[in-house]
C-alpha cells in the first residue's frame, strides 16, 4: 500500500513538474494556448476514462456534458445574471443530475445498445443547443463573459495555462485516488466481469451510475473551462465528432490509465498543429498515425510502452 501511495505521488509530482517547467521553453503565448487545450481535453478524457477504462462502460455522447458545462457558463451570466463561477458549479450539478436520471435506464443496456443510447443522448443535447437559438445563439454560437474571481479577471493564454493546469492536477489526483478506493475496485470488478462482480456482492447498477455521473462532472467542468478560455462557444463542442475525439483520446492513450488520457490528449491536440506543414496531407497523416499506433500499441500508448520498458528492464 505504501508503495502504491508513493507511486501516485510520483505521478502527480511529475505532472506538476511538467506543468511548471514547460513555460520555461515556450517561445510564445500560442504554446500556452495549445498546452491549455491539452489540459482541458485531458481533464475531460480522464473523466471518460473512469467510465470506460475503470468501469468498462462505453459513452459515445460524452461531449453532451462538455456542452452543458460550456453553455452553462455562457447562458448563466448572459441571460440570467448568475456569477460566472456559480454558473460553472450549476453546470456541473446539471450534468450530474442529467447523467443520474438518464443513466438509470440506459446503463441497464450493454455493449452496442449502451453505445447507441449514449450516442442518442449526445445527438439530442447537441440538437437542443443548436436549435434553441434564443438562449444559445444557435449554430453560430454565443460569446461567454470572462470569468472573474474576487475581482480578478481571468483572461489571456498565460493565465489560463495555470488555471487549466491546476484543474488537471486536481482531476488527476482524484482519479488516481479513486483507483484505490473500494469504489475504484468495484469499477475494476465491473470492468473484468459484470457477472462475477455481482456474485461477490458489488451493486452493479449503482456503481455504473456512479462512474457515469463522475465522468459527466469531469466533462462539464472541462467544458466550462474551455468556454471561459475562448470567451466564445458554439455547438460543435457538444457534437458527435467531439464525443468521438474524447473516446479516441482515451483509447489512444490507454484504457484505464490516467496518465494515458493526458498523453492521448497531448497527441491528439498537438499533432494537428505539428502536421500543418503538410497542408493537404495533414488529415491523411493524422489518420495514419492513429491507425499505426493502434495496430502496434493495442492497449494504448502508455500501457503498451510501459509494458515494453518493464520487459526490457527485467531481461
Amino acid at each position: 500500500m505504501g508503495a502504491l501511495l508513493n507511486q501516485r505521488f510520483v505521478t502527480l509530482a511529475v505532472l506538476a513538474a511538467v506543468i511548471a517547467v514547460l513555460p520555461l521553453v515556450f517561445p510564445s503565448s500560442y504554446y500556452f494556448r495549445v498546452a491549455s487545450l491539452v489540459w482541458v481535453s485531458a481533464l475531460a478524457a480522464i473523466g471518460l476514462n473512469i467510465l470506460m477504462g475503470q468501469a468498462g462502460q462505453v459513452s459515445l455522447g460524452h461531449a453532451a456534458f462538455f456542452g452543458i458545462g460550456a453553455y452553462a457558463v455562457a447562458i448563466g451570466p448572459t441571460h440570467l445574471g448568475i456569477p460566472p463561477w456559480a454558473a460553472l458549479l450549476i453546470g456541473a450539478v446539471l450534468s450530474a443530475v442529467l447523467a443520474y436520471l438518464v443513466g438509470r435506464p440506459i446503463l441497464r443496456l450493454k455493449g452496442h445498445y449502451l453505445a447507441i443510447a449514449t450516442l442518442g443522448l449526445g445527438v439530442l443535447i447537441a440538437l437542443v443547443i443548436s436549435t434553441e437559438s434564443r438562449w444559445t445563439g444557435g449554430p453560430d454560437g454565443m460569446p461567454v463573459e470572462r470569468l472573474t474571481l474576487f475581482g480578478w479577471r481571468v483572461s489571456g493564454s498565460y493565465t489560463w495555462y495555470w488555471v487549466t493546469g491546476a484543474l488537471l492536477l486536481v482531476g488527476t489526483w482524484i482519479a488516481l485516488n479513486l483507483d484505490e478506493t473500494p469504489t475504484g475496485r468495484a469499477f475494476r470488478a465491473l470492468h473484468d466481469s459484470e457477472v462475477a462482480a455481482q456474485v461477490v456482492g458489488v451493486d452493479v447498477a449503482r456503481f455504473k451510475l456512479q462512474a457515469f455521473v463522475i465522468a459527466a462532472v469531469y466533462a462539464s467542468i472541462a467544458g466550462s473551462a474551455l468556454a471561459f478560455m475562448n470567451g466564445f462557444i458554439n455547438p460543435d463542442q457538444a457534437g458527435f465528432l467531439h464525443s468521438v475525439e474524447l473516446v479516441t483520446i482515451v483509447v489512444l492513450g490507454g484504457l484505464g490509465s490516467v496518465v494515458g488520457s493526458i498523453v492521448g490528449a497531448a497527441v491528439l491536440v498537438t499533432l494537428p498543429q505539428a502536421l500543418t506543414v503538410f497542408h493537404e496531407y495533414e488529415h491523411l497523416l493524422l489518420g495514419l498515425i492513429i491507425i499505426v499506433s493502434m495496430i502496434f500499441m493495442r492497449n494504448g500508448i502508455v500501457p503498451s510502452l510501459s509494458g515494453l520498458f518493464l520487459r526490457r528492464a527485467r531481461s
Partner: protein, 388 residues
C-alpha cells in the same frame, strides 16, 4: 520502475508540444495570415477562398510585391471547427507574427477568432456572411461579403416592386439559414412585408415537401423565400416544383450563388430569383458597368488557374486581399495599426462583391446596389431588368 516510465512518457508529451517548427522571418517579406475551412462541411466556401488567395499572392509577388516587400501567405485549415480556428488565430498572431489577416470562412469561426485579433490590434478582414461580424463595429474587424440583412432587403425590394406583400419563409436551421431568417423577420416591416408562414428544415434533411405543403395551404401566400445554403435549398427547389407551386414566385438567397445549385436543382430551378454579386453574370453586364472589368478578369484568372467554375465565395477572398493590399500601399508601411486606419479609409474600391466605401461606422462598405437580382433561365443566371 513504473514511475520512471511515467516520467519518460510525460517528457515525450512535453517535447511533442515544444517541437513545433518556428518559421524564419526574413527582412524583405511581410506575413499575411489566413484561417479557412478548406476541408469539412464548409469546404465549398473555403476551398475557392484558399485557391484565390494563393493564386493572387503569387501574382502580386511576381509583380514585385507590396511596398517593396514580398508577401508570405500563411494559411491554416480549421476544418470548420471554431475551436481550432481560435487556436490557429493565436498561432498566426503569436507565432507567425502576421501583420494582417484575411480569412474566417464561417461566421462561427470568425466570431471565435475576433477576440484574438482585437486583443493583438491586428486588422482582420473576415469572409463570413452574418452581420454580427461588423455590427457592432469593432476597431480591427472588417468583412467583404454582403450581409444576410442586405439579401433580405434586396429580395423585399423586388417583392415590393411586384406588389407582393404576403410571404412564406422556409429556412435552414444551420448558421446561415437561422441568421438570415432572423434578419428577414426583422426588416420585413420596413418593406411592408407580412410573414404569413414560417417553416424550417434541418441542414441534412432530404425531403421538405411537408413544410412546403403547409406553406402551400396557407391562405394568401404570394411569394416564398428560402434562406439557406448548401444542398438544402436545391432540395427545397425540387420539392417546390414537384408540388406544382411554380405559380408562386420563389426566392433563394445569395447562399446558393454557385453553378452547382443549378446543377442540383435541375429544371426545377427555372424562374427562381436570387440576389447575388455581379461576379455570376460578369459577361452579361453592360460594358458601362464599373465592376465588369474586375469580375471578368477575376473569373478568367481563377478558371484558367484552377479549371473550376468561379464562385462568389472565392471573390470575397479576392476583395479582402486587395482591400488589404491597397491599404498597405497607401500606408506604405507594414505597421498593423497604420494598415488598419487605411483599410477603414477604403473608398471607391471596385471588387467582385461591389463598390466598397468604408467608414468608421461601416466596416463592410457595401450598399444594396452591390447585389444584382438574378433569375435562373435556361439553366443560367440572368439579370432581372429593373421594373420587370
Amino acid at each position: 520502475m513504473k514511475s520512471q516510465t511515467t516520467l519518460k512518457m510525460m517528457l515525450a508529451a512535453g517535447a511533442l508540444s515544444v517541437g513545433m517548427s518556428h518559421g524564419a522571418n526574413a527582412q524583405d517579406t511581410v506575413k499575411i495570415g489566413s484561417v479557412l475551412s478548406v476541408t469539412g462541411p464548409s469546404s465549398f466556401l473555403g476551398e475557392p477562398e484558399d485557391k484565390t488567395l494563393r493564386l493572387y499572392v503569387d501574382k502580386i509577388n511576381a509583380a514585385g510585391g507590396v511596398a517593396g516587400k514580398k508577401i508570405e501567405l500563411v494559411i491554416y485549415d480549421d476544418g470548420g471547427d471554431a475551436n481550432k480556428a481560435r487556436t490557429f488565430a493565436t498561432r498566426l498572431v503569436e507565432d507567425d507574427e502576421v501583420i494582417a489577416m484575411v480569412g474566417g470562412t464561417t461566421t462561427g469561426s470568425t466570431m471565435a477568432m475576433i477576440p484574438v485579433f482585437e486583443d493583438a490590434k491586428i486588422p482582420f478582414i473576415s469572409l463570413a456572411g452574418a452581420i454580427e461580424v461588423i455590427d457592432p463595429v469593432r476597431k480591427f474587424v472588417f468583412k467583404t461579403p454582403h450581409t444576410d440583412k442586405m439579401a433580405c432587403e434586396k429580395i423585399f425590394e423586388d417583392l415590393k416592386r411586384r406588389n407582393l406583400t404576403k410571404i412564406g419563409l422556409i429556412s435552414g436551421t444551420d448558421g446561415f439559414g437561422a441568421s438570415m431568417r432572423a434578419q428577414c423577420v426583422k426588416v420585413a416591416p420596413n418593406y411592408g412585408m407580412q410573414i404569413v408562414a414560417d417553416e424550417n428544415y434541418g441542414p441534412r434533411d432530404s425531403d421538405m415537401t411537408a413544410q412546403l405543403t403547409k406553406i402551400k395551404n396557407t391562405a394568401g401566400v404570394q411569394a416564398v423565400v428560402n434562406p439557406g445554403f448548401g444542398q438544402g435549398p436545391a432540395i427545397v427547389t425540387r420539392n417546390y416544383a414537384q408540388l406544382g407551386m411554380n405559380s408562386i414566385p420563389f426566392y433563394q438567397s445569395h447562399g446558393v450563388a454557385s453553378k452547382s445549385f443549378i446543377d442540383l436543382a435541375g429544371a426545377a430551378a427555372e424562374g427562381v430569383r436570387l440576389p447575388a454579386a455581379a461576379l455570376l453574370v460578369g459577361d452579361k453586364l453592360p460594358d458601362s458597368d464599373p465592376q465588369k472589368k474586375v469580375v471578368t478578369e477575376y473569373k478568367q484568372a481563377y478558371e484558367s488557374a484552377t479549371k473550376q467554375p468561379v464562385s462568389t465565395f472565392g471573390g470575397h477572398a479576392y476583395d479582402g486581399l486587395f482591400i488589404l493590399v491597397e491599404a498597405m500601399k497607401r500606408a506604405n508601411s507594414t505597421d498593423s495599426g497604420k494598415i488598419r486606419d487605411e483599410i477603414e479609409k477604403t473608398k471607391g474600391f471596385v471588387g467582385t462583391g461591389g463598390i466598397v466605401n468604408m467608414s468608421a461606422t461601416d466596416h463592410l462598405g457595401l450598399d444594396l446596389s452591390a447585389f444584382r437580382m438574378l433569375e435562373i433561365k435556361g439553366g443560367d443566371w440572368n439579370l432581372v431588368a429593373s421594373g420587370s
